[in-house]
């Protein structure tokens, strides 16, 4: 299958390892990955921060860059959620019927990585080997916007020698929340601090998630306290062999 990769602005710039791992996994499974070079950002930060007209422009750009591809994959549940759940409303509220139609056609073809693998390609074993204790942090947008369900867990359970460890209040937000992390830094930090405590108590060596943005927060908090828990994107674990 020919799959277009939407690596996301943060993935491209700060977490290229997640993008590279996504490519490695998909190519190992025999798919052709293409990278539309004109891509930049889906506009989520602008939409979520109240800058809707800027977000709308970036939505138009996204649709024009990815509109021609049959399947689009991204190693980010919140960016996929933005495209699938927020673009339709954005286009409708702007009264842009052309964009509304284009979004309606494109949105169902945009997938988060684990969702594509498990729900679309019917795979749970991607041939990975990762002999570590891993805590999976289900990010808010993967749970409640993109609704990936158990797909990431199904993949992790089939990684050879990986030990999945539970931790308390795993479905609670890590405190990132985009510009929330800056605008409400104190509250964001209080949330992060509890999350780090819970991760450290779990005995995990690695905390993994579907979103680079949440990993930026988690990694930042764990790093600051000199924790032994490392953060890795799910794609990196799936690529390991």
């Amino acid at each position: 299958m020919r799959i277009a990769l939407f690596v996301t602005c943060i993935g491209d710039t700060v977490f290229p390892e997640a993008g590279r791992a996504t490519v490695r996994v998909l190519e190992r499974l025999g798919h052709e990955v293409v990278f539309p070079a004109e891509q930049t950002c889906c506009g989520q930060m602008h939409v979520n921060s109240g800058y809707r007209s800027d977000g709308l422009e970036l939505a138009r750009r996204f649709v024009s860059v990815f509109g021609e591809y049959d399947v689009v994959v991204s190693p980010s549940s919140s960016c996929v959620g933005n495209v699938r759940e927020l673009y339709p409303r954005l286009a409708r509220e702007a009264g842009d019927t052309q964009l509304t139609q284009a979004v309606a056609l494109l949105a169902p073809r945009v997938f988060e990585l684990s969702e594509l693998l498990v729900n679309h390609l019917g795979l749970t074993d991607v041939g990975a080997w990762f002999p570590h204790r891993v805590a999976y942090h289900p990010t808010c947008h993967s749970l409640r916007v993109t609704h990936v369900g158990d797909a990431p867990l199904a993949l992790l359970r089939n990684v050879r020698e990986l030990e999945l460890v539970p931790f308390a209040r795993s479905t609670e937000c890590c405190g990132f929340g985009g510009t929330f992390a800056i605008k409400n830094a104190d509250t964001s930090t209080a949330m992060l601090s509890d999350k780090c405590d819970e991760l450290e108590a779990s005995g995990a060596e690695v905390c993994t998630a579907l979103d680079a943005s949440c990993l930026l927060q988690l990694g930042g908090g764990l790093g600051r306290r000199g924790s032994r828990v490392r953060t890795m994107h799910l794609a990196e674990i799936l690529a390991a062999e």
Binding site: F15, P16, N48, G50, K183, R224
Partner: protein, 461 residues
């Protein structure tokens, strides 16, 4: 009446470790109870849909339902007063109390009367409003105010309450057992109930077809307030109507399970007008607008008026459980407050509230009437930016949008960021940044821009 900015208020509240411990223990317990009793109902999602649909219908035809309600109440012997704002509503209550020459009224827990600061208005007229709900009494005795819709004193633990009672209504009390604390308040309140001539209540529901008012509660003090005095004044927000008596069936399942995590609440009281020889012989119903029609005008924001004040959204909110309710600067804290308050008092007066959320979506998941809180938050953020975004923020966001607007600009931005960060990167991480980004690095490391971006790698392979 602009409220304090949320980040500032939150910073103050976050320092209180006892507060966070108290809150966490309480919200964890209620959350778990709620999840258990909601899980029992196979038709829970259908109930949520029904609740949402009934409320949407009420809001779409509110003008008709209000008039229908008014005539039903009047026909049953009650007096209906229309109040455009807090001052008008308070004036009605003060007038009724004065007409009966009382110096004290007994009051059940009511957010609506808190919203209009009724107690202060009565106090000004020389009339004491005695709070008879256990938690409200605690707060009143201590000059404190509610931090939770359902459990107003959630930020207090029982030792703190025992110490307060020992100073005020139960001198010498040493036990902090819930039973003993409740008994102390019971002894204090009983006589006041029996002597009260005027009672004041809020309302959970008003039935348009019958003029019936419904309250649900746990302690029974509400039933005392609404049955013992000769005169009863009920203040009800105009959005609290339901069309038919049968609609209560839906809400009386949704509300207790969502709020206290109980299958049903201990006391449900219903009254229709005046019944000769039974209960209050004079009933005043105050229909309160106080900003609600303004909320109604906004086709995205109006769903906030679906709220049945269950507080499930507070209990699951990771922001609320850290900051507590006071940080929200209103009687409506938590996620629902973040969307309701700015609409009731004007976005320009509460512009920081829609941003008091990480958009995690846990609130929407539990809302019994399916208020899409994250969507309304985004909607209100757009309004807040339009009226009140700081110029530097606007400039940054515009610039970033421009950078994202083209491949070359974006790549230039990546290169510039990598150059600019150079003095700050130590051992593969950034520990300190100047300016507004210090808000990040003051408590967290920052992963720097990668030495090789993904697109550079892609081109090189």
């Amino acid at each position: 009446m602009t409220i304090e900015s949320f980040p500032k208020a939150a910073k103050r509240e976050l320092v209180d470790v006892q507060l966070r411990t108290n809150l966490r223990a309480a919200t964890d317990t209620i959350q778990a109870k709620r999840a258990r009793v909601v899980g029992e109902l196979p038709d829970w999602e259908a109930l949520r849909d029904a609740g949402s649909a009934i409320k949407a219908d009420v809001l779409a035809h509110l003008d008709d339902y209000l008039v229908q309600f008014e005539s039903a109440v009047t026909a049953a012997g009650g007096h209906v007063h229309w109040a455009a704002d807090a001052a008008e509503a308070n004036a009605v209550v003060v007038e009724v109390a004065r007409a009966h020459g009382v110096s004290e009224v007994v009051k059940m827990k009511s957010l609506t009367t808190d919203e209009i600061h009724l107690n202060a208005a009565l106090e000004e007229a020389g009339i004491h409003a005695l709070e008879t709900d256990f938690a409200e009494l605690i707060l009143q005795l201590d000059g404190d105010w509610s931090s939770h819709i359902l459990v107003p004193a959630i930020h207090r633990n029982r030792r703190e309450i025992r110490d307060l009672f020992a100073r005020t209504i139960a001198r010498g009390i040493t036990s902090d057992e819930p039973r003993d604390l409740a008994e102390a308040s019971r002894i204090y309140l009983r006589e006041r109930f029996l002597n009260a001539k005027v009672g004041v209540s809020g309302a959970n529901f008003g039935v348009a077809e019958t003029g019936t008012i419904c309250i649900v509660e746990s302690e029974g003090n509400g039933r005392m307030c609404t049955t013992l005095p000769e005169v009863l004044v009920t203040v009800i927000g105009i959005e609290k109507l339901v069309p038919r008596f049968a609609d209560l069936e839906v809400f009386l399942q949704l509300l207790p399970r969502s709020s206290t995590g109980e299958r049903m609440n201990p006391y449900t009281s219903l009254w229709t007008g005046v019944t000769p020889g039974d209960g209050p012989q004079e009933l005043h119903v105050v229909l309160l607008d106080n900003g609600r029609t303004r909320v109604l005008r906004d086709d995205v924001g109006r769903q906030a008026l679906h709220c049945i004040r269950c507080s499930a959204c507070l209990n699951v909110c990771p922001v609320y459980s850290r900051t507590g309710g006071h940080a929200y600067g209103s009687v409506y804290p938590g996620p629902i407050g973040a969307i309701l308050t700015p609409q009731l008092i004007g976005i320009e007066n509460a512009a920081s509230l829609p941003f008091a959320s990480s958009l995690c979506g846990a609130c929407y998941e539990v809302c019994p009437v399916k208020i899409d809180i994250p969507t309304v938050l985004l909607h209100l953020r757009g309004q807040a930016v339009a009226v009140k975004a700081p110029a530097p923020e606007r400039l940054v966001m515009r610039t970033v949008a421009w950078v994202f607007g083209g491949r070359r600009r974006f790549m230039l931005g990546q290169r510039l960021a990598r150059l600019t960060q150079r003095p700050f990167v130590r051992g593969g991480r950034i520990r300190r940044l100047p300016g507004p980004l210090h808000a990040w690095t003051s408590s967290r490391d920052l992963k720097p821009v990668a030495p090789q971006t993904f697109r550079d790698w892609w081109r090189s392979r």
